[in-house]
């Protein structure tokens, strides 16, 4: 956990990685290709570059190679390679572009993606709960209000949900579509 989380008044670094347990260090760097990534231990490549890698390189590399997917890009080519992806970063170019929510559902819900699913881009506090429930594990946050709220664990969640989703549990006797946040 970085110190920034504890100190409300403190100046936040401009980009922070957050997950359900709080802020955490980010081992990844973004790069256009493996070549320009230097010897960084963990790299996120654009989808085309990632797909361009040899399967063997992906499997045997001693570094983690994640993939960045823009909302207009299809995740279909990734689906049969999910066991070789440590991280998928789905982009929100604007918070109201909701395509990445559906992809998150498909990746986590349907295909059981085990790696880290990360939301990047315009991540604001009012959408954090949606992102977690759609299946995101981590959020890359720059918005100051979001940083402040997240560090105070102030998410304004509802006490129940009307849809199945990540991080929630079925209650005994309730309607089948209802859930409560998992403890």
């Amino acid at each position: 956990m970085s110190e920034a989380t504890e100190q409300n008044g403190k100046h936040f670094p401009e980009k922070q990685l957050w997950g359900r347990e709080g802020f955490r260090d980010d081992p990844y760097i973004e790069a256009e290709s493996l070549e320009v990534a230097g010897d960084a231990p963990a790299v996120i490549l654009p989808l085309a570059a990632w797909l361009g890698l040899d399967d063997d390189v992906r499997r045997t590399s001693n570094r983690r190679i994640g993939v960045f997917v823009a909302p207009g890009e299809s995740i279909d080519p990734l689906l049969d390679k999910l066991d070789t992806v440590p991280l998928i970063a789905l982009q929100f170019p604007a918070f109201n572009d909701g395509r990445s929510y559906s992809k998150a559902e498909i990746l986590k819900g349907r295909h059981g993606f085990k790696g880290e699913l990360r939301a990047v881009g315009d991540v604001l506090v009012d959408q954090v709960v949606f992102m977690l429930r759609a299946g995101f594990d981590t959020l890359e946050v720059t918005n100051p209000v979001a940083l402040k709220r997240l560090s105070a664990s102030d998410l304004r969640d509802t006490p129940g949900y009307y849809q199945p989703g990540r991080g929630s549990a079925k209650t005994a006797g309730g309607f089948s579509w209802r859930r409560t946040p998992a403890a």
Partner: protein, 556 residues
């Protein structure tokens, strides 16, 4: 009626807190207008010309007396003493202060109401036939399914930021009173040969600047698959609907550009993967929701038959009202009363706080505590004993609520138009008022028969002009209001989009033009039984155009 359980209460309370927090952050400047706008819209808060507007959801148009009384109380306390019932079975308040809206939401929550998803690019309030549960021609009450959809779509994590708004309507009868084919998804509840409930599914209807009639993509979807199939449709739309141009962002455009076969294929493929998921509805849950909508146990009131006949004989005004505004109930001792919110020369859909309270009282005493809002901007008392009709009529009459014009030419749908709306090009309400006055005489309306006039103040088509038998669209030309007329639209089981007659008419001319159209119809109908729409479908536009513009010049 559906009643909130603890889960619902806690959810709505938390949602009000969320919004309260968002309003506070906006007022303190922590949120910019650009950031706040989508958040306020998701809670039904618009900015109009003169003030904010709050749209409160009336799920599938069903209200109790207590809820209606609360709506009246809110109108009096936080607004200017009235509200406007809309074509989506909701109510809008035109003057609330932003700072008061959290308080209004608290008050609504007390009576199990909210303003969630009455706007914004999410799944909107689900609408249903306003005669659900009482109509004699119904296979089953569609409201339990509307309620399941309401719950499932509330703060949906995947579907809160769709390309554009998304509207679902459900009907349970062959005769479609819910205009399902003008919706993003239209559901027609029916039974298969084995007697099981399911839906015919229509996709891609919509109005606005590119009106389209929905396409049927499935003839029978078992009821248990409602949520999985809807999820499949909305997911395909969320992923592939256009986001580059908001005028092309509705699912109707996706259907049009992708082609209905290909889109159906994608939806079905998505559904195959979802079908056996947690979204499958257990019969026990369907039954439990249906229990809430069980028809009330209506005492036998056979004395009404004689009493009604005698009262009609004694009171001609009452007789006219019964003939026009009361429709048959499943139970022959009862009737379904339409309370017209279209007094002659009045503002379509507006009701004062006092009127709302009166309707609440009447519903509690005479209609099993139930009220409906119709998409025609009227109110409905679904269960009135024939024996009580006269008493109900007298009460309504005293407060200007007994206009006998349901379905007639003065029962006009009109959007707020330029009197309120920031997007408008022209006024709608004053045009509706003048038409209503012109045709207001009871004999004249009766002579004309069923005729639906629908007016919008701009191409967004909130007033449904595309599907009016006569549609009127306000446009702005050189700073003046101008009105285009369309003919032959219809929003029932044979949905059609009206055809534009030709050049528009000025505000002064438009009522005369409507009169010419009506007179032309009266002159050419085969009999009184052939209503305007039927006559139009038989003869086409030509005689009407000729009446409006003179003999057709070949050059045109």
């Amino acid at each position: 009626m559906y009643r909130y359980d603890e889960f619902d209460h806690a959810f709505v309370a938390a949602r009000v807190e969320q919004f309260k927090d968002q309003v506070e952050r906006r007022l303190s400047g922590e949120l910019t207008e650009d950031q706040f706008k989508p958040l306020r819209l998701m809670n039904g808060v618009y900015l109009q010309l003169h003030a904010y507007m709050l749209r409160v959801a009336v799920p599938y148009g069903t209200l109790s007396g207590r809820q209606m009384r609360k709506l009246g109380h809110i109108a009096r306390t936080y607004d200017r003493g009235y509200g406007h019932f809309t074509t989506r079975q909701n109510i809008q308040y035109n003057w609330p202060a932003l700072a008061d809206i959290p308080k209004i939401l608290d008050e609504l929550a007390e009576v199990e109401m909210h303003a969630m998803q009455t706007s914004g690019n999410c799944i909107r309030n689900v609408t249903a036939d306003h005669f659900s549960g009482v109509a004699a021609d119904e296979v089953a009450d569609p409201r339990p399914f509307a309620e399941i959809l309401r719950q499932w779509s509330s703060l949906h994590p995947e579907f809160s930021y769709l390309p554009r708004k998304f509207k679902i309507a459900v009907t349970g009868a062959e005769h479609d009173r819910a205009a399902i084919q003008t919706h993003d998804i239209g559901l027609h509840l029916k039974k298969n040969e084995a007697g099981e409930l399911g839906f015919a599914v229509y996709v891609g209807g919509g109005q606005g600047r590119t009106p389209m009639v929905a396409k049927k993509i499935r003839d029978f979807l078992p009821a248990e698959d409602l949520l999985s199939y809807t999820t499949a449709i909305v997911r395909v739309y969320n992923l592939h609907g256009r986001r580059d141009n908001k005028y092309k962002a509705r699912i109707k455009i996706l259907v049009h550009e992708t082609g209905v076969e290909e889109l159906t294929r994608q939806i079905e493929a998505e559904w195959q993967a979802l079908k056996e998921s947690d979204l499958k509805l257990p019969q026990g849950d369907i039954d439990a929701i249906m229990t809430y909508f069980r028809p009330p146990v209506l005492p036998e009131r056979p004395e009404g038959w004689g009493a009604l006949a005698a009262a009609k004989k004694a009171d001609a005004g009452f007789a006219a009202w019964v003939d026009q505004n009361v429709t048959p109930h499943k139970n022959p001792d009862y009737g379904v009363v339409t309370i017209s919110l279209k007094p002659i020369g009045g503002i379509p859909g507006d009701a004062s706080a006092e009127q709302m309270e009166l309707v609440a009282d009447i519903a509690e005493k005479y209609s099993q505590d139930e009220i409906r809002v119709s998409h025609e901007q009227n109110l409905v008392l679904p269960h009135v004993a024939l024996a009580d009709l006269h008493a109900v009529y007298e009460l309504l009459l005293a407060d200007g609520l007994a206009t006998a014009n349901a379905g007639l030419i003065t029962d006009i749908i009109a959007c707020p138009g330029l009197d309120y709306c920031a997007l408008a090009n022209a006024r709608s309400i004053p045009v509706a008022q003048r038409i209503s006055e012109r045709f207001g005489a009871a004999e004249r309306q009766a002579e004309i028969g069923e005729l639906k006039i629908k007016i919008s103040g701009c191409i967004n088509a909130c007033g449904h002009h595309h599907v009016g038998h006569i549609g009127i669209l306000g446009v702005e030309k050189k700073g003046e209001e101008l009105y285009q007329i369309t003919l032959g639209g219809s929003a029932d089981e044979i949905t059609t989009v009206g055809e534009i007659t030709g050049r528009g008419f000025s505000s002064e001319e438009v009522v005369d033009a409507i009169e010419k159209i009506v007179d032309t119809y009266l002159g050419l109908r085969t009999s009184k039984e052939e209503n305007f729409l039927a006559a139009y479908r038989r003869v086409g536009a030509a005689p009407f155009k000729e009446a409006l513009y003179g003999p057709v010049s070949r050059a045109a």
